[in-house]
């Protein structure tokens, strides 16, 4: 049937005139058939999965990247910090002062500079990618929400970010703490109180609630333990201010006494406690103090503090 005239004959002559050609064509057809079979099976698998099962499966980041996604997320977060400092990274000091080191200093941007105002939002894509690589990176969510609320004035977008963080990290106290802070910025004090209470319950070693609300991750390092102490104090100070606004100085004092146990050097807080014990209120209204704490005039960088 292949011995036809014209194009068919030419096709026959090209494809089937030698054993090598025949084998090559067979091999190609076999490869194409195997690939097609694989693609068909994969399509059936993907299309037949019910929605519930898909939701329970690992995320795309888990499947594609495995454990390395945590490193990638960390690197992307560091890159967001570098972008905030206008491309000036934490470069190590050059130990060999040769011509190449001198030229590297000329090429790379130098100095301590920050993005300002709306320019700060340029760090958002890197925080976004960081959270996509690791949805458990609560720090990236918190930083994104902070700058969205502060520089863009978009409290609604900040709330969206924290809601996503809550969906992905329902037992991490930091998410509740940030939501409480955000609610205070919005002036929604009852909502803020609820979230700060939820954050406090989820702190490890609090009220034996670890079984009901297990902490997201036990602080292993000294740095983590220090941060938990700082966060505990922050939750308590805002909760104390909310108690003052509600007219409950005794509850407020209870919060402040706990802070002083953690950080005995907080002189201003001790003075406020004395005023509360004596007069039932402090000269500085709690709303004003909360505003000062929640809306600092200037962002203080870690490098600024070193200087």
């Amino acid at each position: 049937m292949w011995r036809g005239e014209g194009g068919a004959k030419t096709l026959y002559a090209r494809c089937f005139t030698s054993d090598a050609s025949r084998n090559s064509v067979r091999r190609t057809l076999l490869i194409v058939f195997v690939l097609w079979g694989f693609a068909f099976a994969l399509a059936c698998r993907l299309l037949s999965m019910p929605d519930q099962q898909k939701r329970n499966d690992e995320s795309f980041a888990d499947k594609m990247l495995g454990g390395i996604r945590y490193e990638i997320s960390g690197e992307l977060y560091e890159h967001a910090d570098s972008v905030f400092h206008k491309g000036v990274g934490h470069a190590p000091k050059e130990s060999v002062p040769d011509w190449f080191a001198k030229m590297r200093r000329q090429v790379a941007p130098r100095g301590h500079a920050h993005l300002h105002h709306e320019g700060t939002l340029e760090i958002m894509p890197w925080l976004y990618f960081s959270t996509r690589a690791d949805p458990g990176n609560v720090t990236a969510y918190a930083v994104a929400a902070y700058w969205l609320a502060r520089e863009a004035g978009r409290l609604d977008l900040a709330e969206g970010v924290l809601n996503e963080a809550l969906r992905n990290n329902p037992s991490d106290y930091r998410v509740y703490m940030e939501k409480g802070n955000l609610a205070m910025k919005e002036g929604k004090y009852k909502k803020a109180a609820r979230f700060l209470d939820a954050a406090y319950l989820r702190l490890s070693g609090t009220n034996n609630m670890d079984e009901v609300y297990p902490p997201a991750a036990a602080p292993e390092t000294t740095r983590d333990k220090d941060q938990v102490r700082i966060d505990r104090a922050e939750i308590l100070v805002y909760r104390g201010l909310l108690y003052e606004m509600q007219g409950s100085p005794d509850n407020a004092l209870r919060c402040y006494r706990e802070i002083v146990k953690i950080f005995p050097g907080r002189v201003n807080l001790k003075e406020r406690m004395i005023e509360l014990e004596k007069n039932g209120r402090s000269p500085t209204p709690p709303e004003k103090l909360a505003e000062t704490l929640l809306f600092p005039r200037r962002y203080v960088c870690a490098e600024d503090e070193d200087e």
């Binding site: 206008k86 130990s95 090429v107 790379a108 894509p125 925080l127 976004y128 977008l157």
Partner: protein, 261 residues
């Protein structure tokens, strides 16, 4: 000189006929358009991440194109047998090497201009800014980087087939770019022959990081001072000359086997 330019012109025409360049341009456009459609926490009109990703892609694609074009020139001539008619013209081997290098370097440089123009257009459409003087400065240094890279590719292709030359050029250039700046810190913990060996590698390999002005361009810093700029350009030309010289030394006595064809 005319012979060199004619050889370079054939490299240009051959590369333009192939699909490599168009595939890379299409890929760059596709990546950038995909990045533009991202909804980053509900924000729009963010630009610097597109600049950064676009410049990274421009560098990666230029790297791929430069290595791909440079390493196949000499092996292709030998494989097809056209090397004999070429050298019988007469064309000196040094002219052949310089012509091939000039062609590969030129087409890679021209492609990079297209990448930069595409990226600048997309960034401007998004409301961003590209400092023209700084962009020109960045492109010139990038061009010098491609000069060294194509000279490396030509050098290795004098004695290897195109695949081996491409692999070696790719690996060496990637290692030089990423690790050389860290060598002084790495060497601090070493002593003796290990430290000496590390510094030999540090000074022997080209320092590609000196040609990378992407961070300045992304974050709108001021242009570099002209003195270090000129010094780095001179360093780039010098390194290219060194690799071309080594390539000529490797190629000048090479015998071609007719029976292979």
């Amino acid at each position: 000189m005319i012979r060199i330019l004619v050889i370079a012109r054939t490299v240009w025409i051959e590369t333009i006929r192939r699909k490599d360049l168009y595939v890379l341009i299409t890929l760059l456009l596709a990546f950038l358009l995909a990045l533009m459609t991202l909804n980053v926490f509900g924000l729009r009109n963010l630009v610097s991440y597109i600049k950064e990703a676009g410049l990274l892609l421009a560098w990666v694609f230029a790297w791929i194109l430069t290595i791909g074009v440079s390493v196949r020139q000499l092996p292709q001539e030998e494989k097809t047998g056209t090397i004999f008619s070429l050298l019988a013209k007469p064309v000196k081997r040094s002219e052949l090497i310089i012509g091939k290098w000039l062609g590969a370097w030129g087409i890679a440089g021209a492609s990079t201009i297209i990448f930069y123009i595409l990226l600048a257009g997309i960034v401007r459409a998004r409301g961003g800014n590209f400092n023209l003087a700084l962009t020109v400065e960045a492109w010139i240094l990038h061009f010098c980087f491609m000069g060294i890279l194509s000279a490396m590719g030509i050098l290795f292709s004098t004695r290897m087939n195109s695949d081996a030359a491409a692999t070696l050029t790719g690996v060496l250039s990637a290692v030089a770019f990423m690790l050389l700046p860290q060598v002084p810190q790495l060497a601090e913990d070493l002593s003796g022959w290990r430290k000496e060996s590390l510094f030999i590698i540090y000074y022997a390999l080209p320092h590609f990081e000196l040609f990378d002005l992407r961070q300045r361009l992304v974050h709108d810093w001021e242009t570099m001072s002209w003195e270090p700029f000129i010094m780095i350009v001179f360093y780039g030309l010098l390194m290219s000359a060194v690799f071309l010289m080594l390539g000529w030394l490797a190629y000048r006595k090479k015998r071609f086997n007719r029976d292979v064809f």
